[in-house]
Symmetry: none
Subunit: 255 residues, 2 copies
């Protein structure tokens, strides 16, 4: 299907883009999601399109929080479902966690399509095709959620999430694990643990880490300290160094 | 039509996004254009979503180049036509300049839709619904252009343009004014004058500056010096400082 040459320096990134456009054609992702993906691409470019040490530390902390949770929920939107449904299924079954379909632009038809797509990839505990609760402090469709899912969760994983919604979840006292490529976004800054990494790399790495914790004899204690502000600062320092490094060839090569 | 609350901290950016999605619904913009827009958004976020001094300097130089040109052409793609057709019309009539429909993913139907859209916004001198020339050194549809427009222009304005095409225009000896939010892109680095700014802010500012020059008694001399490399370095230094400054409140404000 893909026409991208395997040797292209940005093969993985271009393949993700095709997968998302395919998800949009199937009615899983929305045009706004394509734009949000592009924004992420710019940050991933600056990250060198690799999981960096600060992301690894956040993944380890997130694995502890999710493994120690009483009621963990993965909030999955159209972009994430388009890009890596298998990784969602694998993470949900390893924890184990409930998956909630979490749409900023929600329609019944789209929720059902996403449910079919996620179930086909192996997701079993799925809620959100119908919503029956609202997140306090939000207006319109963006407040919609489920009682069995987001509203009663103690630990929530969100990926590429709107800042308003992340803040609403935090106000409810929930531990929020966010996957967000922009360390400056409101989601990144208001989450409890922010994984500054591309979601198709972060979710499999998180599943691996959860599996490792599950196999340990000692029970996981959830309340291990994690300084999100400090970790975000490390991400920002990395981006600044990258901009400096990338600027050197620009000065030499410009005509 | 829009459901974005006016008080949202990123209202202008979200409104632009809706306008682009609307353009895509009308068949003006393509999914690849939505992703490209998102990439730009990330850089605009780092720019503080404002026209910065280095952009102001480039706008002043671009106004001189366009006002002093023998045959100025504005190359307009689906994103720019969707976002700010009125600003394109205003700039074209103030210079005055020919507008060429300039598509990376070109179809006859899309060109005609764009022409109708731009004419409805007030564009009068329009070419490119049919192409009759090719830019040397490019393959496929991306080489298509018109003899009366791009091929015979001495000064060309491109916005959110592909690097290959910008380089092809430069090889033909043309003065290229580029509007590009990424100061590291090949277009930014190979253009004669790069305006590192968001296109819906840059085009009206450019029209204002051209109008100011037109009202002056003294004729505009085109060959004023402008050091694009130096100006791009200023843009990169600004981005690095912003990452540093943005990191501070993140440390204070994060919960």
């Amino acid at each position: 299907m893909s026409t991208i040459p395997k040797g292209h320096p940005r093969y993985a990134s271009l393949l993700r883009r095709e997968r998302l456009v395919e998800g949009w054609r199937k009615g899983l992702a929305v045009p706004q999601g394509l734009i949000a993906h592009g924004r992420g691409e710019a940050f991933d470019y600056l990250l060198g399109e690799q999981t960096q040490p600060f992301a690894g530390r956040a993944i380890a902390a997130a694995a502890r929080a999710l493994t120690g949770a009483a009621h963990p929920v993965l909030a999955i939107n159209g972009n994430v479902a388009s890009l890596c449904p298998e990784a969602v299924a694998q993470l949900a079954s390893t924890i184990p966690a409930t998956v909630e379909i979490n749409l900023f632009h929600r329609t019944g038809a789209r929720s059902r399509k996403l449910a079919r797509h996620l179930r086909a990839a192996g997701v079993t505990h799925l809620v959100g095709t119908r919503t029956d609760a609202r997140l306090p402090g939000l207006r319109g469709g963006r407040a919609s959620c489920t009682r069995r899912g987001l509203l009663s969760a103690d630990v929530v994983l969100v990926a590429v999430e709107d800042g308003d919604r992340t803040e609403a979840l935090r106000r409810l006292g929930k531990t929020v694990v966010a996957v967000d490529l922009n360390p400056l976004s409101r989601t990144a800054r208001s989450a409890t643990i922010t994984i500054v990494d591309e979601v198709t790399r972060a979710l499999p790495a998180l599943a691996t880490e959860v599996g490792r914790l599950r196999r340990r004899a000692k029970p996981v204690t959830r309340a291990q300290p994690f300084d999100n502000r400090r970790n975000l600062s490390a991400a920002l320092r990395f981006l600044r160094r990258r901009l400096l490094a990338l600027a050197q060839p620009a000065r030499e090569r410009a005509p």
